[in-house]
Symmetry: C2
Subunit: 160 residues, 2 copies
Amino acid sequence: MAAADLFAAVGYEATSMASVARGAGVTTTTIYWYFEDKETLLVAVLDHLLQETLAGLGDRDDESPVDLLMWVVDRLTEQRRLVSTVHALAGRSPTVAVWHDAFHELTDAMLAEGLRQEGVPEPLVPATTRLGVFAIEGLVMHPLSRAEQRAVLELLSTVR
Amino acid sequence: MAAADLFAAVGYEATSMASVARGAGVTTTTIYWYFEDKETLLVAVLDHLLQETLAGLGDRDDESPVDLLMWVVDRLTEQRRLVSTVHALAGRSPTVAVWHDAFHELTDAMLAEGLRQEGVPEPLVPATTRLGVFAIEGLVMHPLSRAEQRAVLELLSTVR
DNA sequence: TACGTTTCTTGAACGCCATGCAAGAGCAAA
DNA sequence: TTTGCTCTTGCATGGCGTTCAAGAAACGTA
């Protein structure tokens, strides 16, 4: 998909529908036959990216929890621009908001399950999950050195 | 400032320079005489809001740390739309990025100082500060009940 | 093979937006 | 009164997301 490349290269906002069409060798109107609007196109790209990432995650359920989180942070950091685009758009576009909510439902559940297997007591799981998600999003959005990232995640693993 | 009202009412993206001008009873060109572009106007509004919030914070340095954080989260949540706008724009606009960095430098320092006074050991201050900031931003961006918010902040205060 | 219907593509438009520019009003100093 | 500066205006420009009427291509049916 040409849109995915452009979103990754210059970002969603800087990508015009005309440039997507040019990249696909068609006209803008053709894009609109397949996707209702630009936001729907974005959601399609997000779904595609999510599939890829989930597949990659399946290949490494052997590593330690912190290493696993670091890997997820790395993948999301590669798409930092899209992440903040989604957050900004979710507040004003129902289309993107639906995807964003579904995404969190999925990832929050995965993290919660991981925490349970690490022995986090059940009543603490919800709040710990949320704090974990917030930490991941924070690490993705604010550039820190690898050591600093790890320090935050290690600190996070001391809550009780 | 008319721009501040419009940004708060409908958001930055949905606010056209024409509507700002109309609200101020002038022409768009006049706005451009005072502000270089729309992003510079945004930064002026952000500065204004920050001044107000800092003043309000000065009136309540008596409350408990968690209550203080809750209050900050409340103020930021009222401006949730602007918060995510700033995050999205900081990645592609130098103007907004500069303001965003300065904002974090200020607020991170304030939080770090608060943590020291709460007895957090010095070597843990940097990572704890970051985790705290991430928690605040997460709470601002994701709607949770008051009890859930408090649970996350209480959990956060148990790290060591 | 021919025809009707559905699927896909196109070029040209529309309305909105942020921004630029040349000209002029208002006003103070000389 | 003239000069020069600050401020405001109307108009224009180029780009954007999106729409629409029209036609081409593909396909099922006879």
